[in-house]
Homo-oligomer: 319 residues x 2
């Protein structure tokens, strides 16, 4: 690749002169300027943009940490982030972590090394203390309710959502309620667990740990849930399912096995994805696209802000 | 931000000495080296990685152009690309284009400016001639059968898939066959259209342009398809649906409207996504994860290669 020294040699001028011409500085004679531009033309020279970044300190790249890009929850969040990035002329660097901590650290290190201008963490495994250490290097935005450290965030309250949904089921006569989650670790599941525990204490209901069904992420996991429920001594009468995809899988699996919804088991999904509407699934609407857009805007805004996004119960036919 | 000049001032040495210490060059006295390292420590100085890229010419970033990140086809392809990138210690820069040509050009320009080491184009709107111009700047890999230009690719033959699927339906007595696609422009749809036309000529069947249903991308589009079919004077007896999501939407919509599958209308989906398995949809299996992995490997490999990936018809209950 041609470099600035080659250009200087070809144009018979100094490296400084080439640099001045490339950066549009004054004080270069017309002859020298033309000689340099001729050399640029004949070599198809491309200014290395990393050199530009070096002087300006901006890459126009924002990192996005997410565990899986093919999960409808994260792909909708990513779509919102990407739409806003497009409008603001930024590009996204994707960190698909599969929840491996070292991959999250890599993203944080890219922020430290100025390879990205900011970082959006859609779901994390790192401790907040680790993230706090990297805040000095650039904006980091989280998609959860963070109180421990001073960082921007856009989130829904999973405690409130669970409390309200459990209350709704209780009012409709349900006393044996279970729930399905993607993973048992993580801040969101911690808050859900807390709401579940508080609900059982409030109404003095017996707590059955079997009713907490882990690793439910995709449509096909719905079948697994129903098979697990069938093995229980006392089956739950209702399930909160933290993904409409899994809820849809449950509905299809129940149809196949002649299990009646909501008579045998009631279902509340999450997100209000199109599949929930088409399959008449009662669900909690979470405005993921809007959340994604806001996460992006917080990343390029220097002020710290925390935004709780309201959710809505959509009543359909599975409760 | 601290720069190299500040460090020189603090350590009371020249800029050259600081640079030598930072790059581990010899010929620096022990005292000066320690003075520089103290300054680095006290200012928490971070070497700007763009300066490193400048000297090495590698970013370890690969760009991925795709129209929508939330469509199951592209999100599975992206998952495969991301998995392989993870294994090879690369990161991905996402270009979600919504099929806007200027966004594709931006990605190509980032390759030209060495901001990325290579580019995977999952689906394009740019002419091949435009892409050809950028091949001099770094590897570009396409996910389609390209003969016009010398570029690596991983693809399935949409002509063959359509021919075989139409033949399969013909053998089962279907003479009025329609199909649903995501967009009518684009190389894949061109090849599908060709197969469709050739099939009609081969069997002297009448060709009905109404049977080509455009803009079918998501689950919820299934309902739109059925509503459109109901308005036709003569409805097709079978549909090739180039997305399992749309096929699943069609199945659910037919259930609601008491339309019997396959008796009233037969359906063949595409991809063999989990939803097709759970809903017993006959489909063409396309190994998207494997294709994504190969696209990535081709990008970091300097040799040009073209790989056609075989597909498989999975017979279930919708034909």
């Amino acid at each position: 690749m041609t470099n600035i020294k080659d250009l200087a040699k070809m144009a018979r001028v100094s490296v400084t002169t080439v640099s001045r011409v490339l950066n549009n500085h004054p004080y270069v004679s017309k002859e020298k300027r033309e000689a340099v531009l001729d050399a640029v033309k004949s070599t198809n020279y491309q200014k290395n943009i990393n050199a530009v970044h070096l002087s300006k300190g901006k890459t126009k790249l924002i990192g996005v940490v997410l565990p899986f890009s093919d999960h409808p929850y994260f792909s909708l969040l990513l779509k919102g982030i990407a739409k806003q990035a497009l409008e603001n002329n930024y590009h996204l660097v994707l960190f698909q972590t599969d929840y491996m901590q070292n991959k999250e650290i890599e993203a944080l290190e890219m922020l430290q090394k100025k390879q990205i201008d900011g970082l959006i963490i859609c779901s994390r495994t790192c401790d907040l203390q680790i993230i706090e250490e990297y805040l000095q290097f650039g904006p980091i935005v989280l998609s959860e309710d963070v109180k421990e450290i001073n960082v921007s965030s856009t989130f829904v309250s999973h405690y409130k959502i669970f409390s309200n949904a459990l209350e709704y089921l209780y009012q409709r006569g349900h006393r044996k309620i279970g729930y399905c989650i993607g993973r048992s670790t993580g801040a969101n599941s911690y808050n859900r667990g807390l709401a579940y525990k508080d609900f059982h204490e409030k109404y003095s209901l017996s707590y059955n740990s079997e009713y907490i069904i882990d690793k439910c992420l995709y449509f096909e996991d719905g079948e697994k849930v129903i098979n697990q429920v069938k093995l229980m001594n006392i089956a739950p009468s209702a399930l909160l399912v933290t993904s409409d995809q899994v809820a849809a899988g449950i509905v299809v699996s129940c149809q196949k096995q002649q299990i009646s919804i909501p008579d045998d088991i009631a279902i509340i999904g999450f997100d209000n994805q199109p599949i929930a509407k088409m399959m008449d699934i009662t669900t909690i609407e979470i405005p993921l696209m809007e959340m994604g857009r806001n996460l992006f805007l917080q990343t390029i805004n220097s002020e710290i802000s925390n935004k709780e996004v309201p959710v809505k119960l959509i009543e359909r036919k599975t409760v």
